[in-house]
């Protein structure tokens, strides 16, 4: 690869190579404040490559490669190279990581205790985490949360937050523009703009937090709170984990422990402010 960079997000060390300079430059800007450890070997490799050599210049389009590939992933135009890199990083972690149980969930922490939010795309888990992370919470991650099978602790994966569509304006209004990446308009996932997490969240990315509250948010409808039983939380989290099956009994033990020790709720909320109010209310009870 002609251009490359290394990025450490939480415990994962990425090596990213690209046929083009632009996606690497964009990544280097987003991840400039992240602690680097050049001596560590890479855990995951992402490659952004041209479909055919001549396409590097003529209608350039980005293919995503690495240790794991999704054969039918569509190439993206070069203007979306940053999205391709993000998708590649997610893919390598989702399919390759074995050291921790990986939950498709956002997380924030306060006083060494973690609030974990799991939900489908569109549930608002990312936006809620981003908004809380601009308040008095530490953002642990907007997409993945790692659970250490040995200790039961949650570990952060604070990649640049991927703000989508309406969330862009809601968050952009509250942060310094220097923390925002370029607007990627009209991607297959809609409009996307990356948010660099706060410096304190990045600096604390290796600090584990004890899970204290599990939420399953649903955006839309009246504000409501539904207590969730351990069994349902278990089922939902097996579905939200990309490596539960691969971890075998270690995953089973980690997940049964997590749902048994952590109160869980489903919440519905009509807007960000209502969502945050519900989160703070439940946290006040859980943290008691």
């Amino acid at each position: 690869m002609r251009h490359s960079t290394r990025i450490a997000v939480g415990p994962v060390q990425f090596r990213i190579g690209s046929d083009w300079a632009a996606p690497i430059a964009a990544l280097d800007r987003l991840y400039a404040g992240y602690p680097q450890d050049e001596a560590r070997p890479a855990d995951a490799t992402v490659r952004l490559f041209a479909a055919r050599p001549w396409r590097r210049w003529l209608r350039p389009s980005v293919h995503i490669g690495g240790d794991f590939v999704v054969p039918d992933a569509l190439p993206l135009p070069l203007s979306m190279g940053l999205l391709a890199a993000e998708m590649g990083m997610n893919l390598q972690v989702a399919l390759g990581w074995r050291r921790h149980m990986l939950l498709h969930a956002s997380a924030v922490a306060k006083d060494g205790r973690a609030l974990i939010m799991s939900g489908e795309s569109g549930s608002g888990k990312s936006t809620l985490a981003a908004l809380l992370g601009e308040g008095d919470w530490r953002l642990m991650g907007d997409e993945f949360t790692l659970i250490d099978p040995a200790s039961g602790d949650a570990l952060a994966f604070p990649r640049a937050v991927s703000l989508k569509n309406e969330a862009i304006a809601a968050v952009a209004a509250r942060v310094d523009v220097a923390r925002l990446g370029p607007l990627l308009a009209g991607t297959p996932k809609g409009d996307i703009r990356h948010l660099i997490p706060r410096a304190d969240a990045i600096a604390a990315m290796h600090e584990p937090a004890r899970p204290a509250l599990l939420l399953f948010p649903r955006f839309g409808g009246e504000a409501s709170i539904e207590p969730m039983g351990e069994g349902e939380a278990f089922v939902r989290l097996t579905e939200a984990s990309t490596n539960y099956v691969a971890l075998g009994e270690a995953g089973f033990a980690a997940l049964t422990r997590l749902v048994r020790e952590t109160p869980a709720f489903g919440i519905s909320y009509p807007d960000g402010a209502a969502g945050i109010a519900l989160v703070e209310q439940l946290w006040a009870d859980a943290a008691r």
């Binding site: 039983g229 351990e230 069994g231 278990f234 089922v235 097996t238 099956v245 075998g248 009994e249 089973f252 049964t256 749902v259 048994r260």
Partner: protein
């Protein structure tokens, strides 16, 4: 036709974790997770080491639980044993 007999998993093959109203069972042989509700955990516990059919199981369960007034205990247990066999948690003797 006599009821079919079943045999429980060997000791240590299954790990049980009660999660409220459901019980998660990890099968170390197949590396599969099963979620069951009552009376499945009770049946598995009552199976013992040897071969066991619905009538034997009914007698063991009756000693621990109040089964009076439950019609067709044998037929119900036969059905549940068949389901447990389909999950691989017990096998036909």
């Amino acid at each position: 036709m006599p009821d079919p007999a079943y045999r429980a998993a060997p000791p240590g093959a299954l790990r049980f974790e009660p999660l409220g109203e459901v019980t998660a069972i990890f099968d170390r042989r197949s590396v599969q997770t099963h979620l069951v509700v009552s009376p499945m955990p009770e049946i598995l516990e009552a199976m013992g080491a040897g071969d066991c059919d619905a009538a034997t199981l009914a007698a063991r369960l009756a000693a621990r639980f109040d089964l009076d007034g439950v019609a067709d205990v044998g037929a119900i247990l036969n059905e549940r044993l068949g389901e447990l066999a389909a999950m691989g948690l017990v096998e036909r003797a």
